[in-house]
């Protein structure tokens, strides 16, 4: 039994290689003689397989080389949205990015997502991001009496906001936006995606409350269609299209 298992392992062996991860670290406490709040690059060598993701490499570093490395992750399967980071200068989920797709021959740079205050290493303060999401009231606001059974909706009506229901609040879009980098007041792509999900929902009646909020100076009109958000979204949401639809609802007055 054991012999058979060993044999299959050799036959189906996954290609393995050494990768270098260059991580932008942030030390809030100033350990090892550093200034508190010091930022520095640190390189780690990791033995990895072709099936390994950036998250696996980060685990290998934290568990086997340097336990002080701090990063967020929860489900590790691209659903919870905890491990968005800037990998090779692009926002991605560490758990959805295979090392072999990133040219492992060169060092892979890993930085915290930009535009939010860094707390430690790859962990940022997500509160400004969540505050914008709360501002657009991401909950059903129906009018009239509560029905005795489900609120029905036609497949066509459901289709209108289908794309924006995929959002996992990982902040990859908002922190890839050049407008958000320079103006933290901007709601950011994610809050607009969150609003879009309810604005175009036929069961919801709070669309004009949300549109009024997004018509603000720091709202949708800050979008300069740079398309960074659409390219960053790990869920493949057409973020710029959603923002564009909100803009059109505001200019035409029709939802």
């Amino acid at each position: 039994m054991t012999a058979t298992a060993e044999k299959t392992e050799e036959v189906g062996a996954v290609e393995s290689f050494t990768v270098t991860l260059k991580i932008l670290r942030h030390d809030p406490d100033g350990l090892d003689g550093r200034e508190p709040g010091a930022e520095y690059w640190e390189e780690f060598q990791v033995e990895a397989h072709a099936t390994d993701r950036v998250l696996d490499a980060l685990h290998a570093i934290k568990w086997e080389q340097d336990g002080t490395l701090a990063f967020r992750r929860s489900c590790a399967h691209g659903v919870c949205g905890s491990d968005a980071m800037r990998i090779n200068a692009r926002n991605r989920l560490a758990c959805k990015t295979l090392l072999k797709d990133l040219n492992p021959a060169r060092p892979i740079t890993v930085e915290p997502i930009k535009g939010l205050p860094v707390e430690k290493d790859l962990i940022v303060d997500m509160e400004p991001f969540f505050a914008s999401y709360r501002d657009i009231m991401p909950f059903l606001m129906p009018s009239g009496p509560t029905p005795e059974r489900e609120r029905l909706q036609s497949p066509e009506d459901r289709e209108r906001f289908d794309d924006t229901t995929k959002c996992i609040l990982c902040a990859a879009c908002t922190t890839s936006c050049p407008v958000f980098w320079t103006d933290g007041q901007y709601f950011g792509p994610q809050a607009i995606v969150g609003a879009h999900r309810f604005i175009f929902d036929s069961r919801d009646d709070g669309e004009w409350d949300r549109l009024e909020i997004l018509n603000d100076q720091a709202g949708v009109w800050k979008c300069r269609t740079a398309f960074n958000c659409t390219e960053a979204c790990p869920r493949g949401i057409e973020v710029t299209k959603a923002i564009s639809e909100v803009k059109r609802a505001l200019t035409s007055g029709e939802v």
Binding site: P178, T225, A226, F227, N228, E238, T240, K241, S244
Partner: protein, 111 residues
Amino acid sequence: MWMWVVHRATGVAIFFFLLVHVLDTSLVRVSPEAYNEVIGAYKTPIYGLIEAGLVAAIVLHAFNGLRIIAVDRWTWALRRQRMLVWIVWGIFAVLMAGFLPRHLMHVFGGA
């Protein structure tokens, strides 16, 4: 994002051109001689090259502006914005290929 940067940079450059342009044109009210002197300086080769840059900035800003309008207006264009970027650069290359030889002949040919 790079087209956004190009649009910003060319926009600021064109703004400064307009500022200078308003100033030099209003000089004619101050003194026609001073106006002639300043305008005469624009005939030197260095200003010829700056002029070429100005035309390049305006062509890029104009056609990328049309691209942004299309992207704002139609979902079809929004989904093909990358292709439209290459079309903008294509139009830019064609127009500059027509303009630059003629312009540089004027600047350096002495005619």
